[in-house]
Symmetry: C2
């Protein structure tokens, strides 16, 4: 169970995520977050000193596939469940952090953090693809190349989901394309 | 040859493109464009009534492959020259209009224009892919699916090129991946 402090932190992060996806990064203030969480200024600052700190935590929580790989789960199964999640995100443009990420990353001092997050995200996918090649579930592809395709294609569609209507079919195309490239099979 | 009016219009659009890629859409004013072009307010307004009008023209000028298809050029050749152009754009983040496009498209009244531009861009690629399948140069893929991959993958990498360093290899990966999907060959 979460302690009271942890529960408050989680509540702050959840409420902030909604604000950031609505307004981007630049236009969200600590006052907005107080209003959204019903916390006093002191109550909020006990946990976080800036919107940067909250946003950094929010975008740094991506989990790797390490545990599932160590547990010898099927690579294809891990892939499919990850793609299902991404599909759901694509179809939920209200929760898209693309614009906020863009604004946050455009601030010079955040560039380093971003380069490291991107590296981490690539590594996560490279590890899964390499594992799937090892188990024989995936074709003998270049893991780094496919990892980039997975990440950039996702970012592109996620960005556009905020400005035009992304259909269910386009979201499905995304995952079926990746499954096809990795396994040669239609989903 | 361009008439004097046409040349001025082109000069305005070129100068504005640089401003939009630097500052996004929202933060560019008609005054900024006067400053960048050395035109008087009257001189600028003779050609354009708003930054929206300039931006709309700027992003609406994408040419289709129709003429080249009608001239029976090789589909693979058309594809490769188009991908070369995109690669160059990816490696030139200073000229990336992603943020400006994002901001412009987020304005409600522009949503319709965007939906139609996206449709046009998809059609352009679908036409080329269908043509390549017909000539036997491309594999029997689903043109609409690959068109989405080409567009969204590009948008994603283009967006990220503004916030992290995109390597030459990542840009190459983009085109070689598409060529591989369409022809089965490594570039």
């Amino acid at each position: 169970m979460l302690t009271k402090g942890e529960a408050t932190k989680k509540m702050i992060i959840d409420a902030s995520a909604i604000l950031f996806s609505k307004k981007g990064f630049k236009d969200v203030s600590m006052t907005d977050i107080c209003d959204a969480t019903n916390l006093s200024r002191g109550g909020l600052y006990r946990h976080f000193s800036s919107t940067s700190e909250i946003f950094t935590l929010l975008i740094s929580t991506e989990r790797s596939f390490d545990e599932r790989i160590k547990a010898n789960e099927s690579a294809l199964y891990i892939l499919k469940s990850a793609l299902d999640e991404l599909e759901k995100e694509i179809l939920d443009p209200e929760r898209s952090l693309s614009l906020a990420i863009y604004e946050f990353a455009s601030i010079d001092e955040n560039k380093k953090l971003f380069t490291s997050l991107e590296k981490k995200a690539k590594k996560k996918w490279i590890d899964l693809i390499s594992y799937g090649i090892e188990t024989g579930e995936f074709k003998d592809v270049d893991p780094a190349k496919i990892a980039e395709l997975i990440l950039y294609y996702y970012q592109g569609i996620r960005m556009w989901s905020k400005v035009t209507d992304i259909t269910k079919r386009s979201a499905k195309n995304y995952s079926s394309m990746i499954i096809k490239i990795l396994t040669g099979e239609e989903k």
